[in-house]
């Protein structure tokens, strides 16, 4: 079946990276082609959102800002329930190509660990650390 964890698209744009960067990372730019309304706090950890006339909206978190080459953010997976904590990561890479820009978008994280498998790994680590630390304490106490 092939579980798609990663989506990748590359396109050539006849505009310099600075213009493409502005379209991707400003509220005006995002509202012009992606959302219908947008806001963005352009710094790692900054909040951003986009809204559409049909009432749909998406919350984003800015992750990477390396003007004018890399812009990355995480966002909710719209098909999952609102309270689901999982996020996919979207990264735009801009490379000069002649007078224009080669733009690559990569979205990853669709095949994240299911909740119960994650629990198993996490609980295993937690239990392992507890044991190790207990052993260390016992060793120190014995001295």
């Amino acid at each position: 079946m092939g579980f798609p964890d990663r989506i990748e698209r590359t396109m050539e744009l006849a505009h310099p990276p600075a213009r493409v960067w502005a379209a991707l990372t400003t509220a005006e730019g995002l509202a012009a082609w992606f959302g219908e309304e947008a806001a963005i706090d352009l710094r790692p950890g900054g909040a951003a959102w986009m809204r559409w006339a049909n009432g749909y909206s998406v919350e984003m978190r800015v992750e990477r800002v390396e003007e004018p080459t890399v812009f990355g953010f995480t966002w909710q997976i719209e098909e999952l329930p609102e309270e689901d904590p999982r996020r996919t990561y979207v990264e735009f890479t801009l490379e000069p190509a002649g007078a224009g820009t080669r733009l690559t978008v990569v979205e990853t994280g669709f095949a994240q660990l299911p909740e119960d498998a994650y629990r198993k790994v996490y609980d295993g680590h937690t239990e392992g650390w507890g044991r190790e630390l207990g052993e260390m304490a016992g060793y120190l106490d014995a001295r």
Partner: protein, 111 residues
């Protein structure tokens, strides 16, 4: 791990491919845990067929039998495999082609 995830998602899609099993899962999702007899009164499916489908769904990990006396065993939906299948669908539903076309148009318009 990816193989295991795929195997789980595959079982969800196989389960959903059958209309009777879809009805059973939908009934458990909307009405909560139920016995085979409850389901037989609610759905246009015989009790024997329901028992057979429930056995298959239990085997696939999509429903789980609550402990209890044999005829009174209630089955409940397990949502974890569904969430996993949802992730698969989310990847298929993510449409980058339309926004990227819009980006190109936006930049060309402004040139």
């Amino acid at each position: 791990m990816p193989d295991e995830i795929e195997a789980i998602a595959e079982q969800v899609f196989a389960a959903l491919a059958d209309p009777s099993r879809r009805d059973i899962l939908a009934a458990l999702a909307s009405g909560g845990p139920a016995t085979a007899t409850d389901l037989a009164t609610r759905l246009p499916i015989t009790r024997q067929a329901i028992a057979k489908h429930l056995a298959l769904l239990t085997e696939a990990g999509l429903v789980t039998a609550e402990p209890g006396e044999r005829r009174r065993v209630r089955y409940r939906l397990r949502s974890a495999p569904m969430k996993l299948a949802q992730q698969f669908l989310a990847a298929l539903a993510r449409d980058w082609d339309s926004p990227l076309d819009a980006l190109k148009e936006h930049l060309d318009r402004g040139a």
